[in-house]
Amino acid sequence: METLSDKPNKIKVVFQPSGKSALVAPGTLVLDAAVQAGVPLDTPCGGQGRCGRCLVRVESGNVFRPQNPHLTAKQVDEGWILSCITQVVGELVVTVPLPKEREKIVVQTAATRKAAAVRCEFPRLPAVRRVYLELPRPSLEDNAGDLERLKRALANTQGIKDVDVVLPIMRTLSRTLREADWKVTITLDTHDKGGVPRLIDVQAGEKKGQLWGAAIDIGTTNVWVDLVDLISGRSAGRASMLNRQVPRGEDVISRIIYSQRDGGLDELRQLVLSAINDLVAELAVGSKIDAREIQSMVVAGNTTMAHFFLGMPARTIREEPYVPGAIFFPVYTAAELGIKINPYASVYTVPAVAAYVGGDISAGAISSCIFRSDKLTLFLDVGTNGEIVMGGADWMTTCACSAGPAFEGAGMRFGVRAAKGAIEDVTINTSTLEPTIRVIGDAEPVGICGSGLISALAEMLLTGVVDRSGRMNVARLQEKARNGKSRARVGDHGVEYVLAWAGETSIGEDIVLTEVDINNLIRTKAAIYAGIAVMARNVGVPLENVEEVLIGGSFGQHINVEKAIQIGLLPDLPWDRFKFLGNTSLSGAYNILMSKHARAQVEEVVGKMTYFELVADASFMDEFTAAMFLPHTEMNRFPSVAALLGDRHESSGTP
């Protein structure tokens, strides 16, 4: 083996098929070279050599590669390496496998979208407002300065006594006023509580029509932008895309680990920023406006996402005692943050509750209206993590369970987002064990999304394809083989069930659900259910007393309550108690964008919520293990499912 230090010069690394390249020092990780070359590689584990997903193939050149169990002997022979642990030794050409879908932006215009899921109403009072002023022309009798003239008019007509003006506007103010013949429309920003309003825009003449703002939800997996007219409250369009940080770690923990690499934090910040800017630009084009006309922005995201968005280190979120850099985030201007809208516009980041209950949940508590409810309410946000709020107008408790992104399609063999081509529903025939699938957009399937996974697992349980621990009954499936093709088989990734044959898909590959996927799903649903159960026990309320269950999250509008109960994700309550609110984080950001009352409310709510740290709760592991079964070890908690399964065991609670 050559040593790595005796080659002083920079080495060229070329990434095919794009042909992008980087010059790096010997010993540099191939992954870092890829980052430098601007070639995205998936590192769901954060670049620790744990997941085996950052595969690239060496076409020519020299590398130093430590052994890793994720590579098979065949892969090693073919030249595959894990880029996160392999070092560059000499001139190198590698091929990067084509990424799956994902980068795509999905736009929903008001026309194509169902009615907005805004549930909570607040008096309309955006933090930015537009004022039309007609100033008297200066004269010898009235020779006040231009700014003083403007302030005087503001005081006379609006009762606003003072205003701050940013320097670039100050430098052009006199000219603008004269060119406009003293008739201008100004935009005032009143984000800072009790402070002086800021003048952030001056336009000639009387401007009518929309005043633009943007609500943002930075999810760990997906980023959403809602372009809103602050005057009418109407959304001009919503757009979403995969959070570009995902290749740097699929969950917040992997991503925090990645952020601790050299330059990692700034890279993560830039990645999410570019996603937001691209989405905003896309929506601006769709509404035929200039993105600089957007005058206000509210951003909701979990605590880690908020830290990355602001470029704050998040290391301490991961380490005991799990302390975030901040809970309440100061308001910054778009220019300071690198957001491409009006550079002087304020960007408000929704406050968090704790390290693992973030602004997305605070926003959700607002938009779900739980804080006003006189019913005992359970609010669930099922995203990459599951967060839970229980209570109502008088009290609220919250906790977070590290559920993982399975329901968002991440980390699953054929997992995809809920978009065109995603299998969203599965039915399995009781006697033939053959599946029937429904695909979003009636397209050929590309993969399976959260709702599809839930219905697939429920059907597998009810038809005996899997036992109650999620293990597949391969022998039984093989008896049912049709034309010599069995739906169950042992593939490269263990036992798997074929949901769609290659010929029926648009990816030319069999779409399967593996036992590993199923285990992953069970772990995810168990974490969420256990969190709910522990929270209910801690506040001393039987779960069946919950009068309303509000569900947010990106799959919130699609999932089938019946199936979710069958797998033990949701408590077995009458179906009419469940309400799906869609993306409550985005709706909450919208509420705050539209009303300073909502902003005051969210700040109050954050202070009011009692946070439970599940890690510190001795009963959580016990509840979790009990929930690692279908639907649950304690069948008496799921009477409707027991009836379906013809449960013959009498059983009651375990102390």
Partner: protein
């Protein structure tokens, strides 16, 4: 002033009764309790906990010298060992088919049948057979033993979450009892009972092995899991109400306090006495936790535990 009345717990559930031995073989029934162990003023404990002695189908190579000297040449032959165990007062036998382990002699179905036949013809006590705890080998040797012991209602184990279907099926076919072993966790114990029942095995043919931690090695952990299993069953949970078997001998003789004979600190006392105390304390504690069958190794422990039972049962 009214006299103080002792609080009496009323239980609605019952531990299942389980019978081992049939077809001319002696039988033994365990379980059936309607109270926590030895709390007889709250309910009945109709069957005295049973003592099984562990026998292996090959001479153990890693056993303590105190065990070796207690059993002598009997260790070399499972039939002779079984007979001697009966003489030492075993209520039933626990036969470990250790030779089938891939790292031991890697024997198969034929050897298992031979060993089982030898034991079954040497004694008329009820018998439990366990494999080497390697899934593929367990399935092979236990199916073979099941056939040999057909109609004699023996115990077969260990069923674990990852490997239970074959053993359950052979128990159903030949009328045997399955041993369901789980790693010291109440939910996992219950889950395995459900999985076994779901494939059609009667809950009355399941014996739970909750996994034993020896004194100083998780005994209190085992104790609390067993106690919770009993409480759940007495509160009416039919999927935790199977009788329990504990391998107290195997676990306590594995620990350094039982094995060490060289350079032992003086304060540790006599080596043999200490080893026996280790097995005794582990075993008797587990009786209090709700063990229905104790599997022991040393004949002297059998005597001590039986004496303790005579006084307290």
């Amino acid at each position: 002033m009214a006299p103080l009345e002792a609080p009496v717990e009323k239980w609605t559930g019952k531990i299942r009764e389980l019978k081992l031995g049939s077809g001319g073989r002696k039988t033994i029934t365990v379980g059936g309790g309607t109270t926590l162990p030895f709390v007889k003023f709250e309910g009945a404990q109709p069957h005295r906990p049973a003592i099984a002695i562990e026998v292996q189908d090959k001479e153990p190579t890693d056993w303590s010298e105190f065990l070796v000297s207690a059993w002598g040449d009997a260790l070399k032959n499972p039939g002779a060992w079984a007979k001697k165990a009966a003489e030492f007062g075993a209520d039933l036998l626990y036969i470990r088919l250790a030779s089938a382990h891939p790292e031991a002699s890697n024997t198969g179905a034929a050897q298992a049948k031979k060993s089982a036949s030898e034991v079954l013809s040497a004694v008329d006590l009820p018998v439990i057979f366990v494999g080497p705890d390697v899934a593929e080998k367990d399935n092979e040797v236990l199916v073979a033993v099941s056939d040999v012991a057909k109609g004699q209602r023996v115990g077969l184990g260990n069923c674990v979450e990852k490997n239970y279907k074959t053993i359950a099926a052979t128990c159903m076919a030949d009328g045997h009892v399955a041993i369901a072993k789980t790693p010291i966790e109440i939910n996992l114990a219950k889950q395995l009972n459900i999985l076994l029942s779901d494939v059609g095995l009667s809950p009355d043919s399941i014996l739970m092995d909750p996994t034993t931690g020896a004194l100083g090695y998780g005994l209190e952990y085992t104790y609390s899991v067993m106690e919770r299993l009993r409480l759940a069953a007495l509160m009416g949970d039919g999927m935790t109400s199977m009788p329990m078997i504990c391998t107290a001998g195997e676990e306590s003789w594995r620990q350094k306090e039982s094995k060490a004979t060289l350079d032992v600190p003086q304060a540790w006392g006599d080596n043999q006495e200490r080893s026996l105390i280790w097995e005794n304390v582990t075993a008797i504690s587990l009786l209090a936790a709700g063990a229905d069958i104790l599997v022991l190794r040393h004949p002297k422990t059998v005597v001590t535990v039986k004496a303790a039972l005579d006084k307290s049962f």
